[in-house]
Amino acid sequence: MTQLKKVLKLRTVVSSSAGMALATSSYIAALQIATLVAGELAWVSVLVAGVCCLLSAMCFSELTSQYPSAAGIKLFIQNAWGEKLAIIIGMFYVVLGISMVGAESFVLSKVMTDSLTMINPEVDRAVWLSVFILFVAYLNYRGVKIAGTAEDIMTFAMLLLLALVSVYAISRAGVDLRGAFGSGRFTLSTVLSAAGLGVFLFVGFEWVTPLAEETTDYRMIGRGMLIAIGLLCVVYSLFSVAVWVGLTPEQRASGTPIPHILLGRNLFGTTGVLLFACLSVLASVTSFNAGLLNTSRFTYAMARDHVLPGVFSKLHPDHATPWVAILALVAYALVLSVIIFITGQYLFIIMLAAALECFIYVVMAVCVLRLRKKFPGRATDFRVPLGPVLPVVAAVIFGGLLVGIFLGATTDHSGTVLFQNYLVAVVMGAFFLLCTLYTLLVVPVFKKKAALKAATRTKRRPGRDQGAVPGA
């Protein structure tokens, strides 16, 4: 087997996958799930969402074992349906994916303001929001990488701590399962609706696929994702119940974006607040850092491929980082964060992220089926078992969850409608249309320009005729 000096261990694959999914906004989603379903039974929806994500993880594993590349999703779609669709969906997924920073920075700023007052809440929040985004931007700009071991320790410590605190909260408050069953809120409809939102809890687990290039055994990526989802299932199940039983009815009804901070305060006073504030910072920084690292490299590669303007392929002269791509994505994240800051509609971004994940999981499941049909003899280290059954089930389930999200409405605890979710579909549709128009109208211009430039360039390789440079 091929060896590399530095290879990722399964432990790091698990921590990267779980770390991407474990963000501060996950705590709000957990409370939202508990609000939708009958509180103490929130874990049922979390588990349903987790099992669905396991199906999707298997699809990702099969695709990664065939195309182990950081270009991942684009490459899967390109081989299945061609370059144009790959560009459209790749851009759609990456740019909308980074939108989550809007919700994440908003919630984190609220966490920090609640934990540490400096000037006044509004100013403090604006400061924390900017500090968070700019700090991660700086790490990426300078090419500072969080070492694998440090990331492992941080992620596993967060998972363990969250599980322990949840168990403590549940044991202290007790769980009234009979009351929950009899509340009338535990129906198939609410469980599935909450499971749709529950997908948000696992958002990003698949972003570990670009790490396939840093392993010598591609199957490790698949195993890592499955273990990570399993761990997240346990921790989120516990936390969703803990946050429900650990908060007072008034706190639940307040529509708070910081339920974990309130839980920490109820359980341990100021120490609990600080503990959860630290967890929040770690969770947000690791998620955004890894997200920005992946998306900026993707943007750079797309620019090098003449899909995006060449300026995005500029590398920093000292750090060799794609600084223009980083700054552009950070500017986009900042603008979104400001919009969320002003409107306070962080739940909109959470619903959008859940819908986006459902969409991409449908695409990946169909990708598996399409590639199997297109390249029947292609060798693969991992194949989703039971033939086409599980990919079809995954596509149907996530398709159903996606439709379920779009047809619903986001409400607060009292049942007041915050917004109709079809607006999420409208935003996604508009963005998809933009990506399509860009791909059909603008990309050909860039490609043609690059081809013309290449045609005038003399080949350097001896013994070859002058002409277009291959692959340019």
Binding site: K5, L75, R461, R464, P470, G471
Partner: protein, 119 residues
């Protein structure tokens, strides 16, 4: 299909181009890696030493345990070393496969981009 000698000739030119580029040397000054290139159609292996951004040597065969492994067909390797191919494009198409960290993938691509920006 490019022969082993053709690829070695291309590597020699690549070394001259890289080491003579001040901008690239500055950017890669902290970058030291042992790189294997594998031509999957001919089965030929090549090893390249990069020490603080300078290509200090290359040879046919796979020596020692590498930091980076680049796998593609021999023609792509040859064209890439001559600067006649955009490695990013081939990478995104899956024709060039790299086993390395994302940082190393970018740094490897940076070599071509800086020496031959119009490719």
């Amino acid at each position: 299909m490019a022969t082993k000698d053709e690829i070695l000739e291309a590597l020699a030119d690549y070394q001259v181009q890289c080491n003579g580029n001040a901008r690239l040397r500055r950017m890669q000054r902290d970058w030291s890696r042992l790189i294997h290139f594998f031509a999957e159609d001919t089965g030929d292996h090549f090893t390249m030493d990069v020490v603080k951004g300078e290509i200090t040597g290359f040879e046919a065969g796979a020596r020692s345990v590498p930091d980076i492994i680049v796998t593609t067909v021999s023609e792509n390797l040859c064209d890439m070393f001559w600067g006649d191919l955009n490695p990013s494009r081939k990478y995104l198409d899956g024709e060039i496969r790299v086993k390395a960290s994302q940082e190393d993938v970018v740094r490897l691509d940076a070599i071509t981009m800086i020496i031959w920006p119009d490719v």
